[in-house]
């Protein structure tokens, strides 16, 4: 193990190298470009003996990954915002064809208006494609989760593609200390991909062929079942990772100071770090507040949220995206998860930090105080500027 001060982008690149990926195909897009540039360097220097396929678009990059993965290769790509949207059709393909492609996504707001800064609108609009979705909070978590994502995606009871996301700039371009596991450690954790259900010469198989109404539903149901299975498989994988590296990031819904909390804020990505600092400060003032981090959005941690709901009176959900005509995506999903549960805490949604606006400690504190002391609207946009302020 070595410790390096590296960006979230390089954390992805190092993870792909340590995973000994066979095939990388990508099309550069700000601000993920550095991920694939670094991988290209690894390949060019011989440090990573992989096939690096240059393509003309993200759509083709995903197609190349799906094809290579169908043949049994361990594959990786990375993208961001509009690039991810261009992949949309092929994202469905990757899941439907059960190809365990792993992809890094730098979360970036969707245009127009053009933005290079973070929010979760890009990946939230891909949540129904059948991909496993992890949202990273630190560069360390991004590296570790990417390694775990390969083993999870390739697990015979899962065989689904997985994306590991990181907030643009707050992680992608932020350098901070990261423990890089040794190659021997990673090899012990992540053996070469098993050749099962892969296309092979001399073996008659069909992939993605025409299917009538008599079978289509069963194919979909298999994906649904695999996604449900993903939860337990991931927990086993993370335990195994912790045995080898000493690091466990806490499963699908890591919680912070929730044991005796009355009020809990549900967060995603880098807003969690700032919120943790706020929870510490508010605890010092005697407020019984806590945090729960949606580390996975797919599968959605329904069971974990229902457990949390038995202990707390109020839950706030901080969304860094919005579903037009409804509410924040995380808020809607949390509400859905809790409806069938026996305990119904008061639930409030806060939409903040779109297009890279800072989610400040003051904002998080205000949201938590609001939850503690007032019965406010079901869903609100935080610190929206008035027309005069915005001009």
């Amino acid at each position: 193990m070595t410790q390096l001060v590296i960006s979230g982008n390089y954390a992805q690149s190092y993870a792909a190298k340590l995973a000994r990926v066979h095939v990388v195909s990508a099309y550069p897009i700000t601000p993920q470009t550095a991920i694939v540039e670094k991988i290209a360097e690894f390949v060019a220097s011989g440090a990573l003996p992989a096939e690096y396929i240059k393509v003309e678009s993200e759509h083709s990059a995903m197609q190349a990954c799906i094809s290579a993965s169908a043949l049994g290769a361990r594959t990786y790509t990375a993208t961001s915002s509009q690039g991810l949207l261009l992949m949309h059709e092929l994202l469905h393909w990757a899941a439907g064809a059960r190809t365990p492609v792993v992809m890094g996504v730098v979360n970036r707001a969707v245009a127009p208006p053009w933005s290079i800064w973070t929010d979760h609108g890009d990946t939230m609009s891909q949540r129904d494609t059948g991909w496993i979705q992890f949202y990273g909070e630190s560069n360390q978590e991004v590296l570790d989760t990417t390694l775990m994502a390969f083993r999870l995606a390739e697990h015979p009871e899962v065989r689904l593609p997985a994306m590991v996301t990181e907030d643009a700039f707050y992680l992608s371009h932020t350098v901070e200390p990261v423990d890089i596991p040794g190659q021997d450690q990673v090899d012990a954790f992540l053996p070469p991909r098993e050749r099962s259900s892969t296309l092979e010469v001399g073996k008659a198989m069909r992939l993605g062929s025409f299917t009538g109404p008599e079978h289509y539903m069963e194919f979909r149901h298999k994906i649904a079942k695999a996604m449900v299975r993903t939860r337990d498989v991931f927990l086993e994988i993370e335990d195994d990772y912790a045995r080898i590296t000493g690091r466990n990031h806490g499963g699908l819904l890591p919680t912070y100071k929730t044991d005796d909390a009355d009020t809990v804020l549900v967060t995603m990505g880098t807003a969690t770090t700032t919120a943790r600092g706020v929870v510490d400060a508010m605890r010092a003032d005697g407020h019984k507040v806590g945090l729960a981090k949606l580390r996975t959005f797919r599968p959605f941690p329904v069971q974990e949220l229902r457990d949390l709901a038995t202990r707390v009176d109020r839950i706030g959900v901080l969304d860094r995206s919005f579903t037009f005509g409804a509410a924040g995506a995380a808020f809607t999903e949390v509400a859905g998860a809790l409806y069938a549960a026996p305990h119904h805490p008061q639930l409030r949604g806060f939409v903040a930090g779109l297009g890279g606006r800072d989610i400040t400690a003051a904002m998080v504190r205000e949201a938590l105080l609001d939850l503690l002391t007032r019965d406010g609207p079901e869903s609100s946009w935080v610190e929206l500027k008035s027309r005069t302020e915005a001009s």
Binding site: V5, T30, I116, D167, F169, Y170, H173, T174, V175, E176, P177, T270, A271, T273, T274, R276, G277, D280, D358, I359, T360, A361
Partner: protein, 187 residues
Amino acid sequence: MIEIRFHGRGGQGAVIASELLAQAAFLEGKYPQSFPFFGVERRGAPVTAYTRIDDAPIQIRTSITDPDIVVVLDAQLMRTISVTAGLKPDGLLLVNSEKAPDALASSFKGRVATIDATSIALAHGLGSKATPIVNTAVLGALARASGIVTLDSVRKAVGRFVPAKQQANVMAAEDAYQHVVSLAVVP
């Protein structure tokens, strides 16, 4: 926790300066965090970069609005950007300028320091007269004026992590360390 905000123009190396400072702090066993805020990604456009340094893991991921230290790589930026916005009254303003610090005293009531990083960079062949790469010289000056990292850590960080002309960059940092002029606050 110490928070440092860098103001520069695309091409001067403000982002690399903020990262090198993080590397130097890491070499001293500290927890650093550094990231840039790009406006438009092009040469000459204003760039802001942030570095946080603490003795414990950093529990905040936002831009820096109330810095302890502001570093300005191009004094011309001070005409159009309020570089001292939010700078703590007992903080430090370090500017790449050939002027003496008291000439900039109207910009900030706290400590002001200046370094002619442009001349030092050019003397060591770093960049061109139109676009001198002043980041390593500014970092040497910052080490002296602030004391947040040692010159030795700056030397090591620059020597290991600048992509080209390592020796010239180390010498520029050393030169600036010797020549930075710091104006003490008159109580």
